[in-house]
Amino acid sequence: MESAETLGEVLGRRGFGRRSLLKFAIAMTSSLALPPALAPVMAANLAKAKRRSVIWLSFQECTGCLETLLRSSSPSIEALIFDFVSLDYQESLMAAAGADAERTLREAVAANKGEYLLAIDGSIPVKDGGVYSMTGGRSNLGMLSEIAADAKAVLAIGTCAAYGGIPKAYPNPTGAAGVEDLISGKPIVNIPGCPPVPEVLSGVLVHFISFGHLPELDDRKRPLAYFGTTIHDQCYRRPFYDQGKFAKSFDDEGARQGWCLFELGCKGPVTHNACASLKWNGGTSFPIESGHGCIGCSEPDFWDAGSFYTSLAGGSSAGWRNTGIALGVGVAGGLAAALSGRRKST
């Protein structure tokens, strides 16, 4: 629930001075690619702001998104984010269960009508009336429509919530869909990734709390500051790509030299995300730095885009059998055409 205290007061009581807040704002403006001059404005706005209620609904998901976000923040300055929001409903984290949990949700919605942020992880099954994922006897689709109606904005966290993700992969038995396919008339921000980069969620939340609106989004509703460039654009192995130095297998000399992984199937050139700049696990590394190509997990339908190990230059082959059939049909057609031609000419 929203408390009457401002964030500045809450932080002050907990021993964080305004310097911490300003420092946080400096880091956040840098992360959001905003001009550094906005940092003091952001800090002042945050100090005056009230905690924002967040209602988090989990649908067809694996809880990987939530795990990532929780694990990421403990030692870093982003831990402050938990002082800026009031996570009023999250089934995996809350102590309440059953009817109590349902009452909590109703109360949180009623108390913050029109003001709360709705966070979604997981895709929403719509086939057969949405029976494939239910909570307390209600379908995910029903809950989404109802709770989104009174939300200020909807955050689709992870590739499943944003685009349907793995549940939507062929043959999509549950008719899974992403949030933006089902909700209209609400500001939606997609934070795709399997899992998404935690700093992106912090950035979006802080932007929303301090400026009252979502950050600039691209045509796929992703925050431009984090998804404006591809992994390839930011990759430290990019010079090898430009020089044509490619690893041909995961244990050859090129791989040991840290050459480009394009030929081993890296999807970095077509994947928009911030992994290469923000990195993972507190800035330790990201997949390419660990020697594996990008699998493109933050792009729509990444699971159905062919093998992770087929280079972007290649594709899926039609197979020798189909090629043989085509050859046979072609020869037969040529034979028929030639014979009919001969008959006509005699």
Binding site: F246, D301, T310, G315, S316, A318, G330, G334
Partner: protein, 219 residues
């Protein structure tokens, strides 16, 4: 399914099958054409005819000296663009990758910069040849939709390929998608128009050479 997924998946498979089937249809049809009856006795034995046929495949690369002044420019431009295409397709690292993936053959690639320069030359010579086709009165009369379509469907892959190599104008995804789709369009059209000369050029030269040899004419 994104457009790129389509281009790398069903699109590629479909284009490949149409190209293979269509080419088989055309070549089978040509091979089964009724041969004109030769009433005169051959001037030369079968081995000589084969030799004549094979020789023609190569001698026709160089035009007769008497024609040179008139056709030097167009032969130069055509050769540039044909050799250019060969260098691009057989020398570009991503293209070798595609060939490797489908046929398990591989060889060392040329440096990217070189392939891009060759692509530029190829593109320029193609444009020059198009202008020649449009402004040359006789050539214009001889040109059909097939000629322009075939030109366009070869031009687009080269153009999108150059743009992709520089990663300018649009995103890598968009350019890669356009590049693959343009190649697939070319593959689909290949058996049905003049592009089939990729397969038929040597066959028709050889057939003509054998015919000439049979009649005792110079090949």
């Amino acid at each position: 399914m994104t457009l790129l997924d389509f281009a790398r998946g069903p699109g590629l498979q479909g284009a490949w099958l149409v190209m293979v089937g269509g080419t088989a249809w055309r070549i089978a049809g040509i091979l089964l054409l009724r041969q004109r009856l030769h009433l005169a006795a051959p001037r030369i034995g079968f081995a000589g005819r084969v030799r004549g046929g094979l020789a023609t495949v190569f001698t026709r690369f160089v035009p007769r000296r008497t024609f040179w002044p008139r056709i030097a420019v167009s032969v130069g431009l055509s050769s540039t663009f044909h050799l250019g295409l060969a260098v691009i397709v057989l020398g570009g690292a991503p293209h070798i990758q595609v060939i490797h993936q489908f046929f398990w053959l591989t060889w060392p690639s040329l440096p990217k910069g070189l392939v891009v320069i060759v692509s530029g030359l190829t593109l320029a010579s193609m444009i020059a040849l198009l202008f020649r086709r449009i402004y040359h009165p006789v050539l214009r009369l001889l040109s059909t939709t097939d000629d322009y379509l075939s030109w366009l469907l070869v031009f687009l892959p080269v153009l999108t390929g150059i743009l992709l190599s520089g990663e300018t104008i649009a995103s890598y995804r968009t350019l890669l998608t356009l590049h693959i789709l343009s190649v697939e369009l070319m593959m689909v059209w290949l058996p049905f128009g003049k592009l089939l000369h990729v397969k038929l050029a040597f066959y028709s030269r050889a057939a003509m050479g054998m015919n000439f040899a049979r009649k005792g004419a110079a090949t």
